[in-house]
Symmetry: D2
């Protein structure tokens, strides 16, 4: 096995992060080409780090025989087309989440990937978080026995701009979709039934555009267990990301990461610094570690850890949650 050669499509914030992470931490991958509609804005930086095959049109990158696999980090509405083209070009694919918010496009990509026989990894980076991955491991190795109750709290530090909310697909598809995936990941179970509750407690403009800003969803899992997810668009104390799994033999719980371990004892209280405010500060290693797994998959040493089906399932659950909220009743999923 040799070092696999990667082409990156899209060098916005996340694309740049992927390039830096691969260079500094993933010796088994080598970035050999980059495509971006604004490639010239990034030419100087890319060349200074030794990447010289640069394209404006991603299709030119797909024609480059030196490229073994592509990372799709362009705008979400381009994912479906690029992924299908990449599959047809015989490139393995790492695609940022989500592929698409419709079941239809997820299924189109799935079909193209299956026909081409290429590998496909979804960028559900949270699965690679040190805390959540350790929880998964303790569930998978039987430490807690049968899963009975999963609790996920996931709250953003502040709502996105209202213009973003309008086109976001709604809280369930834009925000809680990650938590649906985490429930599937840590429990190892499928979701069978969805009951959603939502409210507008934070910003009336979110209500005006037809979305909720606070939500609680109860999921019934394939083994009979329950999962409860709560989301808020605004936790003034930071980006709150916690998971618990309770089972017949015990429980695993993770709190939030903090920027340091210092406690200050004053004459008033004992205090420590706030949790992180920003997803890139919370999940820096997870963003890199997903490429360690991708490298192992490309080299045939391990299976792809998170696939198209995982992206599709999360979309299906999110759509069911929206339906449940609208109808005021529990929705049963039939896959």
């Amino acid at each position: 096995m040799g070092r696999k050669r990667i082409g990156v499509i899209g060098v916005g914030r996340i694309g740049k992060l992927h390039i830096q992470n691969i260079i500094s931490r993933i010796p088994d991958l080598q970035i050999v080409a980059v495509a971006d509609i604004a490639i010239e804005d990034n030419r100087e930086w890319l060349e200074s780090i030794g990447i010289t095959e640069l394209y404006t049109d991603y299709r030119d990158l797909l024609c480059n025989d030196d490229v073994d696999a592509v990372i799709i980090a362009s705008a979400t509405d381009t994912h479906t087309a690029i992924a299908i083209d990449a599959a047809k070009a015989g490139k393995h694919i790492f695609c940022e989440k989500p592929i698409d918010q419709t079941v239809e496009n997820n299924e189109k990509v799935m079909k193209a990937v299956q026909e081409a026989g290429v590998l496909f990894q979804m960028g559900f980076n949270r699965r690679f978080d040190h805390n959540f991955a350790r929880i998964r491991q303790l569930v998978a190795d039987g430490s807690i026995g049968d899963v009975q109750i999963v609790r996920v709290t996931s709250r953003d530090p502040a709502p996105p701009p209202i213009d973003y909310v309008k086109v976001s697909g709604g809280l369930f598809l834009d925000m809680m979709i990650h938590d649906f995936d985490i429930v599937r990941y840590v429990s190892g179970c499928e979701v069978k039934r969805v009951t959603a509750h939502g409210a507008n407690l934070i910003d009336p403009r979110i209500k005006e555009v037809g979305d909720v800003d606070t939500a609680v969803v109860v999921l019934e899992l394939s083994n009979g267990a329950f999962a409860v997810i709560d989301n808020s668009r605004q936790a003034v104390y930071g980006y709150d990301q916690r998971v618990e799994v309770f089972g017949s033999k015990g429980q695993v719980v993770t709190g939030n990461d903090t920027p340091n371990k210092v406690e200050y004892y004053s004459s008033d209280s004992i205090s420590r610094d706030k949790i992180y405010d920003f997803f890139l500060d919370r999940y820096p290693d997870a963003y890199a570690d997903q490429f360690k797994a991708f490298a192992l998959a490309l080299n045939g040493e391990e299976d792809v850890p998170v696939g198209i089906i995982d992206g599709l399932r999360a979309v299906q659950i999110g759509l069911a949650a929206g339906q449940s909220l609208k109808d005021g009743k529990t929705i049963t999923l039939h896959y």
Copy 2:
């Protein structure tokens, strides 16, 4: 103001605990009389601690003019009759929870107490827990702003005997009723709507007697907030009692108490001792501190902190939860 004279009705486990707590920790109360159907079994101990007015029939105690107030700690099915008699006798009342699992009997006691004009305090001891009381205080003083999401986890170390489960009134009235009260207490809100989910994941005999052993309930509160409660009849790691309140200005969270603060760093892991397994180990001070509040109320210095209405509301919510589980839909409460 002087020391208030107390008569205790019922000296089982809880009645004895109340007597010991009052003697050692509540100087403003004095136990002057005790009634119990098996009073002779307790005569030696009671006399050795200076209590000499002992009765077999509680009605004799109610006739004792030296008694300012009674503590009702007898079997639950006697609470209604004793409370009504005590009210008619003009005695102030502290009554162990629950008064009764029916709305009807709660209302009968309420009427008798109101007509007699006596004070009535419910023994919802968890409200006096150091952790939950601190959470209530931080919510009440505005530290977290508007309440938006309440999370309560409450799990027993092991299921009660199946014969008890049969007559317990079901998980919602026997176990989660305490959590309904805690939600009302920490949030300062009433419960408007109840959606219950239940399952049998622990012991099939619990299913056979028509009850669930695992449950998740979502409550919608009068201010629009959500509360989520999860209960399990069996947490192998101990008696798990946690509460969180999330609001517009912050969050308050309490973990479990532990028997000590020692951490052991071995070559394998960092470990500490299990949480408590038993409710009397978890809430020892709460059982005493509720009588400090009762003494203040008897002396007219503060209002009774937890009244009949609180007992009634918890029963109403519990009944609604049972209905929701049965019907598979959300129940709206009309008080």
Copy 3:
């Protein structure tokens, strides 16, 4: 075996606490008599809890044949005489710490006790603290292997009145003496060499009366290990009481107790309440639990857990620390 009958000598703050603890928590002990030079001030309270044998002169109590054992909780300068008289009267003895700050008086009491063949327990209550006792247990059962480094931090919330400091015997005999005992207790080792460092960083009046307010002492133990103790007369954040033991197979560490487990997440920080400010709040159960051990010893079920020798050793180490500070060099102890 029957319930042992106890006479209490001295009903100041600590004597009262002992009486309350025994009544409410130690069923195997019964308080039958109390002596105090101001017994009349306490007559009403004592009689109301069923104690009727009351004396002004402790010698009258020692003549009472109903008394199996005495608790000496009078002023420190009376301990030696009372303990010797009690031994001669054949009473078992629980004596508040210290017996006396001189080696000579400790040895006199030891001789009297040995000649009389009575049991003697020192009131080193910290040994019964849930945290320190758990640390001792983990050391004693071999969990950390050979003890190599002990760390003790012990800081008072505020200096005592300067008039007290003057007659206190100095920081090493008044304050650090408890930590010397804790080092011996948790390590199971004797102290062989003492090197003391002291400074005046808090209140110049403490220096004026010839004492230090901040001190660090390094002890070399009989097995070659080191113990480091630091004391301060003023920790503005509360009564700081921590112990660590490091060994060949691991480490045990205890932090401070706190009044509750609540964490408050605001937009500024994560905070929790201060640790306790007062020794009676920090060690409430330890004060009671030492009498459980005393009851077991009186009934011949276990040895006395802390004896005269422990009081003597702590005094010897404290005197050596004072000498080390004065001479600026290490002092070797020869027992």
Copy 4:
């Protein structure tokens, strides 16, 4: 201001780490040249990341006019000569710790740097650790008032090979030297007096080569405060790195970092994963962040945060500790 151009001298483990960190995290620095006696072994990797000016002899790198500053990451015994040559060549210098274990060579480098007027930063990476830096900040901003007691625990997971111990300069210069720097850093004080205690509790071969494996050192600081450092060559539970600073207005404490925040509640205990075992796992960000500071210094925006004098002082304290242990008395430092 532009991007500063860096030459790296020595590409062993630490040199490689510096190169990776600078490429991925320090946009204001650019690696333009590398020298190493075994440069050919690293040619392929270095060229693949765009570094093409490669030398076997560091003096050739010093002649390269494109190089603004050098990073000296070669073997310790070459630091003095390279640093002096680099200063003479007018290159700013970042030098791995220690410059040298002799006062003489530290002073030679200091003289050369001062004469050349170049910037010099010591690689005391722990100063950039998130925990220790936060402690320093809270001390520096007055949060804890006057420093009174500093506690540093620093323990390695396992002793180094005995052949290394032989030439290491001894525990005080090889291991505790970092803690001496941390005491100076967090307290902002100089060390005036040193009292060292040492023992052989871990491996008799360490004694045979004339070194200790367990040590406790008490430092008296320029403001009258005390610092206590304990070191062990073997903590079986991992790489234990903790610091506390106690002062007139409060206390700051940092525990160890852990690989995740997961707690596992079993029927036996509550456990979490071990702390890190390896310094590169414990201080990954600190290694990168020191170059952010270096970049700011090179651009004239801030002073060099840690200079030659800091390296010299740590060596002087380490030598005094060795003298104290040998003589069995306190050593006073005269700078």
